[in-house]
């Protein structure tokens, strides 16, 4: 046994500590990386929440992907059964009021009447709400819970996805810089 081999246990210990350090630094294991990042927002066809009657039926025309195009937009997946959605709602209202960002809601597996009552009670930051009664659009989007928020550029490409609430920190560190970048890019292209 050479003297150097006395350090083998210490080395193993440091390796284990290293794994532990890396493991605990990992984000929430529930947070999936979005497979749709930098891909176009999927095609869909859905009623507007405002057009859905009390019986769940809708007479008006369905809308598609075109309602998300033209300017950067936040697509926010929410539901009245989701407590975190209520927690983030005030922040969405603030973002919409202070920065005029277009926010489209995707009312996910919810009750239309309850959803409308919620918007009346807590304020409505949404330009419009899509009504995804059975979660089919959610599956197309890789949604596995609420809330989730997607940032789309003017062409409808998914630039960023947030799983969980949009809070002031997420707005400041993740959403606002990307929005500024998108605006700068479109300003550089259009003149």
């Amino acid at each position: 046994m050479s003297r150097a081999s006395l350090f083998v246990p210490l080395g193993l210990f440091l390796v284990i500590i290293g794994f532990g350090y890396a493991g605990f630094k990992l984000n929430d294991p529930h947070e999936l990386p979005s497979a749709l990042l930098n891909k176009p927002f999927p095609e869909f066809s859905a009623p507007r929440l405002a057009d859905v009657g009390p019986d769940g039926a809708t007479n008006a025309a369905l809308v598609g992907r075109e309602v998300l195009l033209g300017e950067p937009v936040l697509v926010n997946v929410w539901a009245t059964w989701c407590p975190t959605c209520l927690a983030e709602h005030a922040e969405l209202v603030r973002i919409n009021r202070e920065y005029g960002i277009r926010i489209v809601g995707l009312n996910y597996k919810d009750d239309a009447l309850k959803a409308k009552a919620w918007l009346a009670q807590y304020g409505d930051p949404y330009a419009l709400n899509l009504f995804d009664v059975d979660g089919a659009i959610g599956v197309e989007l890789g949604v596995y819970g609420a809330p989730e928020t997607f940032l789309l550029d003017a062409q409808g490409t998914i630039v960023y996805k947030r799983v969980g609430d949009v809070n002031p920190r997420i707005w400041r560190d993740e959403l606002q810089p990307r929005l500024l970048q998108l605006e700068a890019m479109s300003a550089g292209v259009s003149p």
Binding site: P29, H30, L32, P33, S34, A35, L36, K109, D134, G135, A136, G138, V139, E140, L141, G142, Y144, G145
Partner: protein
Amino acid sequence: MKGLLGPWLVGLLSLMLSGALNGASPVQAEQFADAEMSSRYQALIAEFRCPKCLNTNLKGSDSPIAVDLRRAVARLLREGNSDQQVRDYLQARYGDFVLYNPPFKPSTYVLWLGPLVFLLIALFVVWRTVGRAKRAQVQTLDEAQLAKVLATTDARDQSPKQEPPAS
């Protein structure tokens, strides 16, 4: 005593068994008229990991998202998609996370090659240890060396014995 315990044991066992069976089959399973498609469906939903519940497959979970994804798998099969097309569909939307059998690519090199690296380290250690043991075995002493060893041991024997410490 045995006669009293019998019914209890049977009851407990059947309770455990029914629990196990409930765990194995979801409450809301999709139904197929076609037996072959039904078996493909069963195989596919057993293959995917539920995105919300970390260590359960789509088959074993009753979380709402697992129900939705089972419905999506059933729809895709009814529309005539192949098993591979269903896999691609789910992977395109939910990423590698839903695959229990992750693909071989740069971000999974450690996962796939790690065990091989550990095996190589183990083989190296075994090789070193065996080599050292062999070298120790073949060490033979000639006359001169033997005499030298004997001389040192003699010298040690003749050195004054140490007294045990006074207590």
